[in-house]
């Protein structure tokens, strides 16, 4: 598979979204082509107003094997959730 184009991860910011969201991946020879391909593959139905592309190989991911070590300790610490405070009615968008 050495002739295959590199893989890119695509992030799209939608009309009303504040952050770019991962939508999928595609192949392209360089970043410019990845943006164009992302436009054609992932924004055909008016999904976005901005595109980010990142080479998949540039992403460092946590290892599934470490899942317990990394995330399990947080599961038993419900006091970290700010759910014990009554919210005044005037506060919106929380």
């Amino acid at each position: 598979m050495k002739n295959e184009w590199p893989l890119w991860e695509i992030f799209i910011r939608s009309q009303h979204g504040l952050a770019h969201k991962h939508v999928g991946s595609l192949h392209a020879v360089d970043a410019g082509m990845a943006v164009k391909n992302a436009r054609d593959v992932y924004t055909r139905r008016n999904e976005g107003v901005s595109i980010w592309v990142v080479r998949s190989s540039d992403i460092t991911a946590s290892s599934p094997a470490e899942r317990d070590v990394l995330f399990e300790p947080a599961a038993s610490k419900i006091y970290r959730h700010p759910t014990f405070f009554p919210m005044p009615d005037e506060v919106k968008h929380l």
Binding site: L26, H27, A28, G32, K36, N37, R39, D40, V41, R44
Partner: protein, 253 residues
């Protein structure tokens, strides 16, 4: 046909015929991403073609719809330039055809966006945003392939040379074009040739390709696609495109 109606049919037919050609790439593109991109360009053109032909039907006033015009006219009634009906060839041929057509298309729409006919101006203003993207894509591919490997360079050069004689028709003016230009309805095609040469020439130079220099152009003597004189390829294209409506008249989705 009045010159006004003639113009709308010419514009619509270019779009519909090229959309059909690009649609032939679906399932055959070199990569999935390009497959979708070519289909997108085709669908943009189809949408534009519908607007021109709908308006043409209304202007004609004989009750013909966009579908009647697209599916029930024979090849001598089609008014697209010959360039857009040519077979897809290899990917370089398709991209050379896009390069030549997209740049002329954009210049035409920019002119039409200032048309004295408000409806034409409105359609052109909407379409030119789509076509500006088509131009970007075509430039990109011609440069990549021209300035790519030895083989891609050679095939891209062959493609721009092979299609060159079909470019003249886009910048020739007949009585229809002249009347419309004088009335401010459409730009004079002859005036678009210089800016087109400059834009296309810059891309070809950046692609490290040699600009074709042939003087002889298809259709220069006895008329071309705009006058209803077509290559042998259009009939086959229409046979496939129109089959359903011809075999099952009035069939709808």
């Amino acid at each position: 046909m009045s010159p006004h109606l003639e113009l709308l049919v010419r514009l619509g037919d270019n779009d519909v015929v090229l959309a059909q050609r690009l649609g032939e790439w679906v399932g055959h593109g070199p990569v999935l991403e390009e497959d979708i991109a070519l289909a997108n360009v085709g669908l943009d053109l189809l949408g534009q073609g519908r607007m021109w032909l709908t308006y043409a039907g209304e202007l004609e006033g004989e009750g013909r719809t966009e579908d009647d015009l697209a599916f029930l006219r024979d090849q001598h009634e089609y008014r697209n330039v010959q360039l857009v009906e040519l077979p897809n060839g290899d990917f370089a041929d398709t991209m050379a055809r896009q390069l030549y057509f997209d740049h002329a298309h954009l210049l035409t729409l920019q002119g039409l966006a200032r048309s004295a006919d408000a409806r034409i101006a409105e359609i052109a203003a909407k379409a030119r945003k789509e076509v500006a993207y088509h131009v970007e894509r075509s430039n990109d591919w011609v440069i990549r392939l021209g300035d790519g490997t030895e083989e891609s360079h050679q095939r891209m050069q062959l493609a721009i040379d092979r299609l060159w004689p079909y470019t003249g028709e886009m910048f020739s003016a007949d009585a229809v074009d002249i009347e419309l230009a004088e009335g401010g309805t459409a730009p004079d095609p002859r005036a678009l040739r210089e800016p087109w040469l400059a834009a296309v020439g810059a891309v070809i130079a950046e692609a490290t390709l040699a600009m074709p220099t042939g003087e002889w152009m298809q259709g220069a003597r006895r008329g071309g696609g705009k006058q209803g004189v077509h290559t042998e390829h259009l009939g086959h294209l229409l046979a496939e495109m129109q089959f359903l409506q011809r075999a099952y008249p009035g069939a709808s989705w």
